[in-house]
Symmetry: D2
Subunit: 282 residues, 4 copies
């Protein structure tokens, strides 16, 4: 099982938690903790085995949870996070996610893929995953169909009991309202080393500025575009001799692995929020 | 000898240059070139040996230079770039530069070090380099002494026949006027991965934003603060568990090597300007 | 067009080559060269445009080739290298190659995939590439079928006019004879940072030794197992907390991109052999 | 204070340790643990504050230590590790260590520097550290003075109450006997990515083999040359265009930082031994 918790820092927390786990014959296999000096918050993640069922463990932890006013999560470690992936036309990032999911190295199941285009339907088909096409554009009266598209998406989230939404190079900006509804359970990959080069065409901005390293950033989605808590970042070396188009190609190499790592950590309950920052117990 | 040149791109440039070098029995040991598709400019750097003196080589190249309207530079490869280093209180970056200069891996000579503080005088003394203290503050009337300080600096640049000014964590902002006078011959190290976190306290900004990589950027100084052409960048991994103070310590590790590489390349005439970008023939 | 050449170093080579290209109105778009001090060999790669056909360019270069006794190669830049990929059961590396080939970022065409197992046939099918199953094992008399399998492979190489064989985690050791026949046109990915951990189970060897970085090496195949000229290497950070199995998973992340880069460079004629080393004009 | 411990893995360890710390009003500020599946050993490192003196904490932990048959270490966090540095002629690595020690980012004090040459005496002088010259060579009868030199070194270790010996590019091979005596408290920097290129001239070996990355490895010294437990490794990109001499120069850039990190972690009691591997709680 995996236990995550956060609370105001204080004395005796580890002793209380380890005592509760001991009472259900818990055998700790991995434990990480962090005191945030900035927010005064204590974070902990424990992996353990126990012969007891989840409800018994919950009961054992309940008094500790109350005493320290903890935010607490408890999961069977083998349970997979139900994940909806959104994509557009470019499939490299999606391809990475689907391959790793099938290879068993990502603790997610993907019951449905959503795209505003049809290009990646064959890939979904190859991996045996339902593909829903939700175009975003103008209706007959010339009005945007975005609100309608987002409503459909939320229907799918409910219908498929989705716990995590992954934006795998989905090239549309989500509305503030949708961002708020998905807060803490939607991950985006931005193709720059944030906070550099927010917004559109970051590789072109990077080329224009003449940087010597380009990057990718996986972050939680918030209403503030490209400002959400960062989960993982990777960079890659470039030179003057590479064009903006080559930046795009080289960047792709790390976008997929950066996003996959972030999804893996989230699905294994390794990412906790500390204000606008993340605590990653990798 | 080292030859650098840039001109509008066109046919026959390489043939003309190699012909001129052949006429002085030049033996090319290293040659790099780059066509910038953005600016239509052709850049070239050639290292070669020749039994002829510099003036003879210049004469042989003169018609080529004129035909293609080239910007051209020609140097004895063994000649060292006369470099003035400016520093403040923190010596790590200075220490790296001085050690490498003495070890013979940086093609510079450093006839004078300038600082607005006295902390690093012993280090200059250890390396046998004159140290000039130019404080910046308020005079008796409460007016800033910055203009006066910059005038003294320019005097030193003239007096010591300085070709390159290196700002090794010199914590003062130079005036626009001084930046312009030193354009293309002053290199600064900024302790972030530009264009992220310009201005003051970049490590603290980076910590606040929760990034997973921190960096350092060596760039030419221009009037536009932290906007000059980038020569070299390096990053380093950080985690949630490191404080802003630890970011500072970890960052120091790469600031020195990043700045040293930029100085080395500049001193070996490996850096050419392509608009706001650099071409680095490393 | 792309021109590659190597010859004994001497004066006037660049001038002669650029003169020949000028005579066919060649416009050089990229040019790299290298003098190997160890072997006294000069290497050059030139990309250029010309209104003349390949035969005319060949004719123009013929006297230069003869004068300097050059090894020379000349190709249309748009021509794709005909590549046969061999794989076994694990598809991550194959998946990377096929995706990039289809995305147009690898200058290869892949007319046939060979495997000693059937697991990856669906992936070949998805990408529309013929899949040939050549099992390696024992025949009815208990004798190895390896020689027979290699004969079949060579038949396919001939039949499909193959220029490059890529071993994408093909887990069989090729015979010395086959290695010799494919010398310079077969690339393997070894899942360690060579020369560390040659042979079988390198991630387990790496874990046993307690290294802090693991890696992948793409190299040309030679009779000497894991001793061929190295084209590209990548490493990844690991810690004590990761098991050998996790090394395998993390390693996969870089195996595919390392092999793809090597294949890309080979297909673009950017890799030249300098004794047991490679010159990579990337 | 800092507590480190290791013992056979079992249930209740964390609870017992946290209970003992609670009894002395210990406030845990950092805690890391690791179960080694390979050796069945449990490792833990705790940083905590307490109003009690060290002896009281030791007394509180004594029953826990006995119950679980622990190897245990307990230190005042502010206490600096007494470190003897050995060097030869090249000062880059020494320079890094001394600078960081003085800047306060390495938790060591260095009461004495030992060298078999005199080149680095001025640097020791600059940092105000006694420098002892212990030459290694032949005596008047032509016999090696190595045994005598090592005896002198051990005298210094005793005299200065040395806890850690750092070999900062000390180019002599220590005798098996000395290695055994210093086991677990001597750190060496080897200038390759071990286990590649053991022994002499690793950069030249790396150049000969044509690798694309070079590295540095900080490890504990054991009788088995270059086979000791690895603490930290770093790599750096190289190309065909760099000579073995340039490998040496580029390598120096990372040797110092690699060794400094290893020394820092050791001095902060972050490195524990798990058989031939290290557990690094960084």
């Amino acid at each position: 099982m995996v236990l995550t918790l956060s609370c105001r820092n204080g004395r005796g927390i580890v002793h209380a938690v380890s005592g509760a786990l001991l009472s259900v014959q818990g055998d700790i296999t991995e434990s990480k903790q962090f005191d945030s000096p900035d927010t005064g918050t204590f974070f902990m993640r424990v992996e353990f085995t126990t012969p007891e069922p989840l409800t018994a463990v919950e009961a054992a932890l309940a008094p500790v949870k109350e005493e320290f006013a903890m935010d607490m999560g408890l999961w069977e470690a083998s349970r997979k996070t139900r994940t909806l992936v959104m994509c557009s036309k470019d499939g490299r990032t999606l391809n990475d996610l689907l391959f790793q999911q099938r290879a068993g190295t990502l603790a997610v199941e993907i019951p449905v893929i959503v795209s505003n285009h049809l290009e990646l339907q064959p890939m979904a088909f190859f991996y045996g995953i339902p593909f829903v096409h939700i175009p975003v554009g103008k209706d007959a009266q010339g009005a945007s169909t975005k609100a309608e598209a987002e409503a459909k998406l939320l229907d799918l989230v409910r219908e498929y009991d989705i716990e995590l939404v992954v934006l795998a190079r989905y090239m549309q900006i989500l509305s503030d309202d949708l961002c708020r509804r998905l807060e803490g359970r939607a991950i985006n990959i931005h193709h720059s080393f944030l906070p550099s080069f927010k917004g559109a065409k970051p590789y072109h901005q990077a080329h224009e500025r003449g940087v010597k390293l380009i990057g990718a950033t996986a972050h939680y989605v918030t209403g503030d575009l490209d400002e959400g808590p960062i989960i993982e970042q990777t960079v890659q070396r470039v030179t003057h001799a590479q064009s903006a188009r080559e930046f795009v190609i080289r960047g792709r190499e790390v976008e997929g692995s950066t996003l996959s790592r972030a999804v893996k950590w989230h699905a294994e309950h390794r990412v906790l929020l500390d204000g606008k920052r993340t605590v990653v117990f990798d």
